[in-house]
Symmetry: C2
Subunit: 143 residues, 2 copies
């Protein structure tokens, strides 16, 4: 019952972004939902040891294409992914993604509700989206 309910929420989440809710996609989405940090492809691979790398890769790309997740590029060098808020359209400047990258543990945390004062750009530069990554030390690594 409980799991059916939860599952429905996941199905709806996918369908709201026009993504067909296959078994694999539901699993990956569930994984993303319960993670409070951004994940890279290796993380997902580790978690789904028996699944194919390419499928996971393409699942993430599909999620990204459809605006369900956004891609984050931090100092770790490899692309990470994190869920967008339901009402996120990734547009500048309203939906600038704010992240905190820990130099010590290399984790990247999302701060979805921080709004970033917009920056004025020269006239001919047309902003579409924005990513703000703050690097430092996270609470867990402070010691």
């Amino acid at each position: 019952m409980e799991s059916a309910t939860r599952n429905n929420a996941l199905v709806e989440k996918l369908e709201s972004r026009s993504i067909k809710p296959t078994a694999m996609r539901l699993l990956v989405l569930e994984y993303l939902v319960q993670k409070d940090e951004a994940v890279n492809l290796s993380d997902v691979e580790q978690h789904f040891k028996n699944s194919d790398r390419t499928t996971l890769y393409r699942t993430l790309k599909t999620f990204e294409d459809k605006g369900l997740v956004h891609e984050i590029h931090d100092l770790s060098g490899s692309a990470k992914y994190a869920l967008c808020a339901d009402d996120c359209s990734c547009a500048y400047p309203e939906d600038v993604h704010v992240h905190f990258y820990c130099n010590s543990c290399k984790k990247t945390y999302c701060f979805p509700d921080r709004s970033v004062p917009s920056i004025s750009l020269p006239d001919d530069y047309h902003p579409v989206s924005g990513d703000f990554v703050i690097n430092g030390v996270c609470p867990t690594c402070r010691n």
Copy 2:
């Protein structure tokens, strides 16, 4: 004369960051100075066709370690490098690096003089540096 003068400026730039001014480093620095956009390792390789990849790689890393350049991670996926301003210490929030990434031509432009209003973080997150990447279409690609 002119070239000697310019060369001195480059030597000083390196020495001000405690980097030994070898021939290779001077050439790479000269290249970075005259570029108005961030470059990745391939760019540098292309420009110095006869030089060794590893040396160029390590030159950039040395520059980064010493605070002469900063690394930029944009949607292109590969690391780019750009010169820091002379008085830049890469510290948050004064020296947040602001860049514009063009989705069309994949170039990344620096906006060294934009200051970013600082964002309040939860208490236990200790910011050290920050990178703001704005994605969109650059003037050249507007057409």
